[in-house]
């Protein structure tokens, strides 16, 4: 039940802050903070409660919640929590609070409905990370879309309708393909065993012919590749990230992209081990293309948010590479990369939002020399840029390093090419820092430096990145049992232990 309450708190909190906002807007914001904060506390409590046992875990799940829903189709409302879900939930609620705080002054219109949508997106994401029934998973997968669509479409920037619609259509088309794949999987399972079910654990043992397994895997893969986004499916991302309000960008980059990667790890690898092994070189190639392509395009951007958006494409390429590299080190690296990318890119979007609030522009050419007028904020910006290009000591380095280390065992040449991505990252990182903070202050900006509220957003994010960068072991310990299970089912013969 505790898992269900995680979702329920957000849903109720959303409605409550919508209603309260008519009377008093600030208290609506506090209600939103309180509900996400409660979830964060619950998640932390779950983490502490389960760290001791995580090494000797015999069951797959730490917590479960399972009751009957649509019995004719064997659909059960089944939520389950393991280390992977837990780590991502912690990230979700952390970034959720960041998103609410970062829109404190940015969003002044229709505050109630904004927070309603924000909390419902978070509820959808929570559901995606917890669902252990494929029907429930699809339900939450779609449920994240509608509020996100409103977040972009109502509070976004100039081309918001275009961006929101594009985002919705891309995700919906790929999502429907996944729905067909999910139902076909259930039908095939029924033909084999006589039981019609959408339950994750039961479907894991479905025997499939290689051909249908490949087709079904592609059905799932398309949905996750669009969300991730992998190389040919990424075109919605720059638009959506750029046009969304700060909170929307943070959630998109920090969390929604992670649902794609999560889907790959949770569903594609264990459900379709055969085709995952077969198509792994192809997937890794797609990942490497994404790394380079995203980085090169990021260098060429003049819009700050667009630049950050393309770096996401590059970073998610590392995740794809790590997921399909076929060993545990790379997989762990991919998950670490997901978490630290969520923080570092989220922080960069917050930063872009703060700059836009002060400068009313996102064009890098309009900036420059900001260090002399607001040294503290610029310093924070430098830290996040360093994290984003993968400097040691900060979270992204650990992720990328582990991915490359693991991928090297699988495919040396691809890994060598992928390493070039780190080089390209230096270019866009430098361009970002040089263009905004350094150089002469040509436009004579006189701006106020960081405020207390902004400190409370950026400070914990810096700490988080440092923590993952310097001492990632607690996170790895949480992840390891569940990743090992997922790993063994797909790439059983190649387990590499440290």
């Amino acid at each position: 039940m505790i898992l269900f309450s995680l979702i329920l708190i957000l849903l109720v909190g959303g409605v409550a802050s919508w209603i309260v906002a008519r009377r008093h807007e600030t208290s609506a914001r506090w209600i939103a903070i309180a509900s996400v904060g409660t979830d964060l506390l619950i998640a932390i409590w779950l983490w502490i409660a389960h760290t001791g046992r995580s090494q000797i875990l015999t069951t797959r799940w730490m917590e479960e919640c399972n009751f009957n829903w649509i019995s004719q189709f064997g659909i059960r409302f089944h939520l389950a929590l393991d280390g992977l879900s837990l780590a991502l939930l912690l990230l979700t609620y952390f970034l959720g609070i960041v998103a609410i705080l970062s829109s404190w002054t940015e969003i002044r219109q229709r505050v109630g409905f904004f927070h309603f949508n924000l909390l419902w997106v978070l509820a959808g994401i929570t559901g995606v990370f917890l669902a252990a029934d494929l029907f429930v998973f699809y339900l939450f997968w779609e449920l994240m879309l509608v509020p996100m669509y409103f977040l972009i479409g109502i509070w976004g920037h100039e081309r918001r309708i275009y961006a929101a619609t594009k985002f919705f259509l891309f995700t919906q088309l790929s999502g429907l393909l996944m729905l067909v794949a999910i139902i076909s999987l259930a039908v095939l399972h029924q033909r084999a065993t006589g039981v019609f079910t959408f339950d994750y654990e039961q479907l894991l043992n479905t025997t499939l012919s290689p051909r249908s397994a490949r087709l079904l895997m592609l059905g799932f893969f398309v949905a996750f590749a669009v969300k991730l986004p992998a190389f040919p499916f990424h075109t919605w991302l720059p638009d959506a990230h750029t046009e969304a309000p700060t909170a929307g960008s943070v959630i998109l980059a920090g969390l929604l992209l992670k649902t794609g990667a999560y889907g790959l790890i949770r569903f594609v690898l264990p459900l379709f081990p055969g085709p995952s092994r077969e198509l792994a070189p192809l997937m890794m190639t797609v990942g490497v293309i994404g790394i380079l392509y995203g980085a090169v395009l990021a260098v060429a951007q003049t819009d700050l948010k667009r630049l950050v958006a393309y770096t996401s494409v590059s970073h998610m390429g590392f995740v794809l590479l790590g997921v399909f590299a076929g060993n545990e080190i790379a997989l762990e690296g991919a998950v670490i990369q997901m978490i630290s990318h969520g923080i570092s890119t989220g922080a960069l979007f917050v930063l872009a939002g703060l700059l836009q609030e002060r400068l009313h522009t996102r064009e890098i050419s309009q900036m420059g020399g900001l260090w002399e007028t607001m040294p503290v904020l610029s310093g924070a910006g430098l830290v996040f840029a360093m994290a984003s290009i993968g400097l040691p000591g900060l979270g992204d380095f650990i992720g990328e390093f582990l991915v490359l280390l693991g991928a090297y065992r699988a495919n040396i040449s691809l890994t060598a090419v992928a390493t070039l991505g780190l080089l390209a990252a230096t270019f866009y990182g430098l361009k970002f820092v040089q263009g905004t903070f350094y150089g002469p202050n040509l436009h004579q900006w006189r701006l106020f430096d960081i405020r207390l509220r902004e400190w409370t957003i950026l400070g914990p994010m810096i700490l988080g990145l440092l923590w993952i960068g310097l001492y990632p072991q607690p996170v790895l310990n949480t992840l390891r049992p569940s990743l090992t299970t997922m790993q063994q089912s797909a790439f059983a013969q190649q387990i590499v232990r440290r």
């Binding site: 829903w69 229709r110 339900l139 669509y149 479409g153 919705f168 729905l179 067909v180 076909s184 039908v187």
Partner: protein, 483 residues
Amino acid sequence: MSAADFVALLPLITISATAIIVMIAIAIQRNHKVAIVISLIGGASALVSLSLAASAAPRQITNLLVIDSYARLYMAVLLGATGFVFLFAYDYLKRRPERPEEFYLLVLLATTGAIVLVISRNFVSFFLGLELLSVALYSLISYVRTQSTSIEAGIKYLILAASSSAVLLFGLALIYADSGSMELSQFAAAMTPDSRPPNAFSLLPGLMLVLTGIGFKLAVVPFQLWAPDVYEGAPLPVTAFISTVSKAGMFAFILRWFHVHDIGVAGAPGLVLTIIAIASMLTGNLLALLQTNVKRILAFSSIAHMGYFLVALIAGGPLGAPAATYYLIAYAATILAAFGLMTILSGPRDEAVSINDYRGLFWKRPLVAAAFTTALLSLAGIPLTAGFLGKFYVVAAGASQSRWVLLFTLVLSSTIGLFYYLRIIVALYSQPEVSDVAAESSTLPLPLPATLALAALTGLILWLGIYPAMLWDAILAVTRDLG
């Protein structure tokens, strides 16, 4: 006919008696309130009599009619939808100069026709029901005679429906010439893949001509040309009636006719229906992209939705008929809510049909706009609404029979479809304009009966979308009887 037969026929008798009572009441004294109250009571007692009829069913009455649980379910749907149309129509008609009473009479007659369609097991009764429905619709569509579009739509429908009836009759004649029988059951053999009908020369053309007539009523491609114009021209309550009762009646009939357990529709009819389904899904959704009139958008979307039904129908198998039925009920609730909403927001002079009429509605009337959003999301098939589970069942039916071409068309076309539903939603949530365009729809008082009906429908959409198990059980039991 025995007494039990009459008990079984009670719903039909009640509803036609109500029509007569309304007629007599109008002759004695014109009174809008009396007319709607009589009609609503008649509809309600017909619903109640359904449970009485349950004791006598399943029952075959002469060669023409059959009352089984399947027929009872569809009758309940038809009567419910008619009730909602009445509630929406009351204030709509009150705001208009026409005499309102005959509207109820005509709707009751049309409903009687639709009920006959649902319970017929023979082409003779089918044709009788069809004509009863169509003739009532001719006058309903042109009911608001002060508006030329309404009359134009009525005449268009008259000409096309009459010619399609002629085609249908010719088809029936060919079938009769071939087999000497008008029974529906004789075609079960013709639908199966391997057995060839004995005299395909006149049977197959006959079948195709009948399909043409049916396709016209369902407004599937290529027989869809009337739909946008008639939807646009007809008064809103009548549009709601056409898109629910008229289509549901015909759909119940075709489902009963084509219901071939475990195999699905194959052979030449299967091929034709597959082509029709694919063309309907794509054409409906693509053409809707170009529209700015919400009524026309919903007309094209209804063409696409008929295509989705056909997917379930063609797939057949143990899931086909239940999926189609569930989809139909979900669609009926949704489209009634959508048209009901438009009725509520329509002023005395003009109907609120342009997308611009809905601009910024959410910021003025959040609850109404939220209900509209729910209906549109349900049409688009987003989870937690009835439309999503409808689509889920249809996909499940298709996947279990490996109808991949149909499924991929469904996926592709419903993504296209999402685009125009989003356009309306964007308008609902966009910044309100200061101009006076939207003023009428935002200052109008909300009529009580229609608002209550709307709340009930929205609740129904959400209930069917979140907890479908009860209805699904009922549908499964009912369609098992059908086989």
